[in-house]
């Protein structure tokens, strides 16, 4: 039975009176999905959490979805086969979409190494609400950092299909933002993301100084 035919024809959308638009109006900021992608150790989670901290301090509604919290909950039944990885990204995308509807600026931090899975995510999120941020960092630097000791395990063959070592990372061809975390400070990286959110009108522009 294919997925399409499993859907119930007896389910229809309820018209809710509280819409995303009304939530955004109340919040005084738009919602969006910031999709951070990059190698393990490239600084995705560090950057996502730092951006969130700054947004929160400015009174915005934010949430970070990352491999760690999702893997223990929503996707705790999934392993690391190709099918399971695809399903993992699909569920994350759908959850991000719900958070988007709820008026939350949602930051996702997943290696998400394959173009096809990032394309899936992009296709599920309304156009213009999906912002792809490539945390670029040379593999040698990531491996040198090896914060979690995973590269060592991967080199020893203790972890299979490890991105960068035994499984490819397909770099984004046209990300909304590419940040070289091996060269830029965290502070400057955060500033780049914030500047992009302002340019996209997700955040209100800072009040301009009076001219007289």
């Amino acid at each position: 039975m294919n997925k399409q035919s499993k859907k119930s024809s007896n389910t229809v959308w309820h018209s809710a009176t509280v819409t995303r638009q009304r939530r955004e109006q109340k919040n005084a900021h738009k919602s969006a999905v910031l999709w951070f992608t990059g190698l393990s150790g490239s600084g995705k989670s560090t950057l996502a959490h730092a951006v969130e901290e700054q947004l929160h301090q400015n009174g915005l509604n934010t949430f970070v979805l990352d491999g760690d919290n999702v893997r223990h909950g929503l996707c705790s039944d999934l392993g690391f086969s190709d099918d399971d990885r695809r399903e993992n990204i699909r569920r994350i995308s759908e959850t991000a979409k719900l958070l988007l509807e709820a008026g939350v600026i949602t930051l996702t931090s997943f290696i998400s190494p394959f173009r096809a899975e990032r394309a899936t995510a992009r296709s599920l999120i309304p156009h213009g609400d999906f912002i792809e941020i490539h945390c670029f960092c040379p593999l040698t630097v990531c491996e040198q950092r090896d914060v979690k000791g995973l590269y060592k395990k991967a080199r020893l063959g203790e972890i299979k299909n490890f991105t960068g070592i035994s499984s490819p990372y397909e770099e984004p061809e046209n990300p909304d933002l590419k940040i070289d975390t091996s060269r830029l400070t965290l502070e400057d990286s955060v500033e780049q993301v914030i500047a992009l959110l302002r340019a996209r009108n997700i955040l209100p522009a800072p009040a301009s100084k009076p001219t007289e």
Copy 2:
């Protein structure tokens, strides 16, 4: 392979600086999961959306998860077998938990006819944050309303395992609130839910009148 063993031992929780507590402080209200349960046609979605409308008008962060929006997205791969229904409730609960963390008052509207599945939901949500609201309405009244024409189809055998007709509804034994939607107006029902949220300190108490 059981589910436990599929979990990666290489995933750990990241310590985020923006916590649920800080979000609740910013929002000036706590978050919670309001789990509406009841027969099809008992008024779950109507009540959930009406409660949301009032909360939103008071500036609160809210979101309604219902069978209709979840079935087309996060759970679009699931059918209506026992296993799939269980998985449906599990994913909804985990998503509600994420929204709870995000500081959102989350209202879920699902028939959720089985005690076991509601117990699962309750077990996944932190203690005290899960509020079970039974939308009680006699089957005869629900069937008379038959807003979606589903009872007719179920009686004709066109829908199998339909709650109340060909599949049981196990009434909550000890819900946090039981509302008889066949007797109470929508306005009064909303007021009962709001009163409960005040009693549980999820909403701030209304400002008391000055005594002099």
